[in-house]
């Protein structure tokens, strides 16, 4: 009976229009299956056996990507209950922790995956540095990696404000204060005041949407954390992977 159900599905029009090549049992079909899939096309057509060896890269970049996917999924679940409003944000988090079924699990997964992502980005870059994989002709992918590192850190920082507790408030107050010491464009930085930057028009003001961490800062960080930065990271991830797997410099990884 299972065989009959399986045949029914595999022979259906929908299945055939999605999987157009049948079961790939020869090299040509295997290559076509990769080529013609929007999801797999970034994957190389052939993978060397040596490239699958665990101890070559320890799969640190792959683990980072896995954590990013966990963060995207759990983040969407958390967004169902979170309101970026100063009067509700903290209560929403408490509801997620103590009232909503599975809410605390989603929050903890998001939090630990975030810590893990920072850690594994660091380990990944250390491995790339130690194996000399940052050198020409792959030097530009190192630059893309640095952009991804900075985005990961800024994602962590913007997410830190969202629970709207004392820890969040003061961490972001301190962080924003640091931005005000930026040279040329900060109110406290070298040449900042001389160039006319005041508490109401410098980089810190732009970041917070005000002179203190308030409602404007919360909505700004929320939009950055949930929309802008994940989009930027996704685009740079695509470039990062494409350069590794399709550029040819790394061999058919």
């Amino acid at each position: 009976m299972l065989q009959k159900i399986k045949n029914e599905i595999v022979e259906s029009q929908i299945f055939k229009s999605v999987f157009r090549h049948g079961y790939p049992d020869n090299d040509l079909d295997r290559a076509y299956a990769i080529f013609s899939s929007v999801f797999l096309h970034i994957h190389p057509v052939k993978v060397r056996r040596s490239a699958l060896r665990m101890r070559y890269t320890f799969c640190l970049g792959g683990i980072t990507l896995f954590l990013f996917i966990i963060l995207a999924v759990t983040g969407i679940w958390l967004m169902f209950y979170y309101t970026p409003y100063t009067g509700l944000a903290y209560r929403n988090i408490k509801d997620l922790q103590f009232v909503i079924f599975g809410g605390n699990l989603m929050r903890d997964l998001h939090r630990f995956a975030a810590h893990g992502m920072v850690l594994f980005v660091w380990l990944h870059m250390t491995r790339v540095f130690l194996t000399g994989a940052y050198k020409a002709p792959r030097e530009f992918n190192w630059v893309v990696g640095v952009v991804l590192l900075v985005n990961t850190l800024v994602l962590s920082w913007t997410g830190y404000l969202l629970p709207w507790d004392q820890l969040a408030y003061w961490a972001v107050t301190v962080g924003a204060k640091m931005a005000s010491y930026t040279p040329l464009i900060g109110q406290n930085g070298p040449w900042g005041p001389q160039l006319g930057f005041l508490p109401t028009n410098d980089i810190m003001f732009m970041l917070l949407g005000g002179t203190v961490v308030g409602q404007n800062a919360l909505i700004r960080f929320y939009v950055l954390h949930c929309v802008v930065l994940p989009l930027v990271v996704t685009v740079f991830l695509a470039v990062h992977f494409w350069r590794i797997r399709k550029d040819g410099f790394s061999g058919p990884l």
Binding site: L52, W77, F80, V99, F101, G102
Partner: protein, 206 residues
């Protein structure tokens, strides 16, 4: 990587040398694996479903303590319309309330004391002080909410979620429900008429 499939597909293959006992064990392990996978998928689906139903709600109140009967005069009183979306109506026999939701498409009708009619601004439904339909597209009469007395201090309590909705009858005047069908506990509270009131002012309230 390809070893698993190679056994059955390469020409000249000597075939699977497994004994029937091995094959039975493999079949069992495959079934066990898929069962485990199915159970975990079902568990995840259930948890995801349950997550979407918040066990605590922060919604506007639906139960209102509206004070003693004596503070309401004869006729329609609109003081709770904005806060609770219901009217309090007192007649010569007692007091009841009606939900301020038009039965056509859910707008809020207005009370016109000179015409003694509720008129809905959206599509022109017209109701009288009993909630009977006197014109317009409304398919049923106005809802009446639960009204009870607080056993401690005797004040009235209105619950706008528990509603009375009897089937109306088509008459030449409009859709009608007899008053004695609607003036029942817990949607009506018997009370003597205010001092000096008479039926002369408004026959509808008698």
């Amino acid at each position: 990587m390809t070893n698993l499939t190679a056994q059955t597909q390469h020409p000249g293959d000597t075939g699977d040398m497994a004994s029937p006992a091995d094959k039975g064990r493999r079949k069992f392990l495959v079934a066990a694996g898929w069962s485990l996978m199915g159970a975990s998928m079902a568990g995840t689906a259930f948890a995801a479903y349950k997550y979407l139903f918040p066990p605590v709600l922060y919604e506007p109140p639906t139960v209102f303590k509206i004070g003693h009967v004596s503070i309401y005069g004869l006729g329609v009183d609109e003081r709770w319309k904005l806060k609770g979306r219901f009217w309090v109506v007192r007649n010569m026999r007692g007091i009841y309330n009606m939900i301020s939701i038009c039965r056509h498409l859910g707008c809020t009708p207005n009370w016109f004391p000179d015409q003694k009619r509720f008129r809905c601004p959206c599509h022109g439904s017209i109701y009288d002080a009993h909630g009977n339909v006197r014109g317009g597209p409304a398919p049923r009469t106005l809802w009446r909410g639960q009204i009870t007395r607080d056993p401690l201090d005797g004040e009235l309590i209105v619950n706008t979620v528990i509603r009375l909705d009897p089937d109306p009858v088509q008459t030449p005047q409009g859709l009608w429900v007899k008053e004695k069908v609607k003036e029942v506990t817990p949607f009506y509270i018997d009370h003597s008429a205010p001092a000096g009131a008479s039926c002369a002012s408004n026959r509808l309230l008698c």
